[in-house]
Amino acid sequence: MSTKMIRNMLMAALALMGLFAGEAFAQASSATVTVSAVVPKACRFYTASTTMTIAHGGGLIDPSAAGNATGSATLNYRCQATVSPQFDIDTSGTYASPKTATVNLAGTATNLAADITVTATGGAGTGLGAGQDKAATIGGVITPANFSVAAPDTYSKVVTIGIQAIP
């Protein structure tokens, strides 16, 4: 066997190795990546603010009245489907539904206590998208025990209502 023959055979062997190497990569390589995410329950208000007047009528409290002075207002909220909201009043850190708290309306010299209740009148959410608004009713009550001894004045307070989904 001549040197040339040996060289050519080596070339053939090397070429075949190249062929087999090509076959080793013959299938497109692939990898799989699992992608995951979690969306928590969520609710939010879609009404920025509202005004509620607590009175007996005509925007006034009758100090001699035997019944409560009351007021009502509405805020719109949305929750994801099947998710129900709960509320906080004046950032107490405690959410409930309905949520009730006593706040002090400030007058010139004294305060006037009022009971505020927030209720999810609209119930569970149906989605966060447009057209899914639900009503939260805010009720205010000032009892005769409080307004009967109040000085004539205008009393007011900005009350912050918080909302979150019931876990």
Partner: protein, 151 residues
């Protein structure tokens, strides 16, 4: 003399075969994948941060996989693609929610490769625009991305 003639014939045949094999080998290398995901990088997972639909910021998450190209020059011509099980080849989509969120949560995917040869890396970057989950139902969402390299 006779043996010499046979040897020459054999010699020509061998040379012809070697050239043929070399051509095949070359064609094979160019036609098929020479880049691969390295062992330990054929599977992975990307977990997005919690998607709060109230604030709904854009969120991004990424994973890096190890790849190799042999020869290294194939790194330049390799095509890295992906397909989403719930989406397609151009958009990824997370499915899930309770109740099921019909549109799913769409996300984008981008592939960047670096370092040719045996120590290449593929970085898969996924992004969800806030608007894509601002209305999503609560719950867990998932998808499977299949990454492929050709040739």
């Amino acid at each position: 003399m006779k043996r010499l003639r046979i040897s020459r014939a054999l010699n020509r045949t061998t040379l012809g075969a070697s050239i043929f094999a070399a051509v095949l080998g070359c064609a094979s290398s160019e036609a098929f994948a020479s880049c691969q995901f390295r062992a330990g990088s054929t599977t992975g997972s990307v977990v997005f941060p919690v998607l709060d639909p109230v604030t709904a910021p854009n969120v991004t998450s990424a994973i890096q996989l190890n790849v190799r190209c042999t020869p290294a020059s194939d790194f330049a011509v390799a095509q890295w693609t992906w397909t989403s099980a719930n989406g397609g080849a151009s958009i990824g989509r997370l499915a899930g929610g309770t109740p099921a969120y019909a549109p799913g949560i769409a996300y984008s995917a981008a592939i960047a490769v670096a370092n040719q040869g045996a120590n290449g890396t593929l970085t898969l970057t996924l992004q969800i625009a806030g608007a894509n989950y601002a209305n999503a139902n609560a719950g867990a969402y998932a998808d499977v991305l299949t990454l492929r390299v050709t040739p």
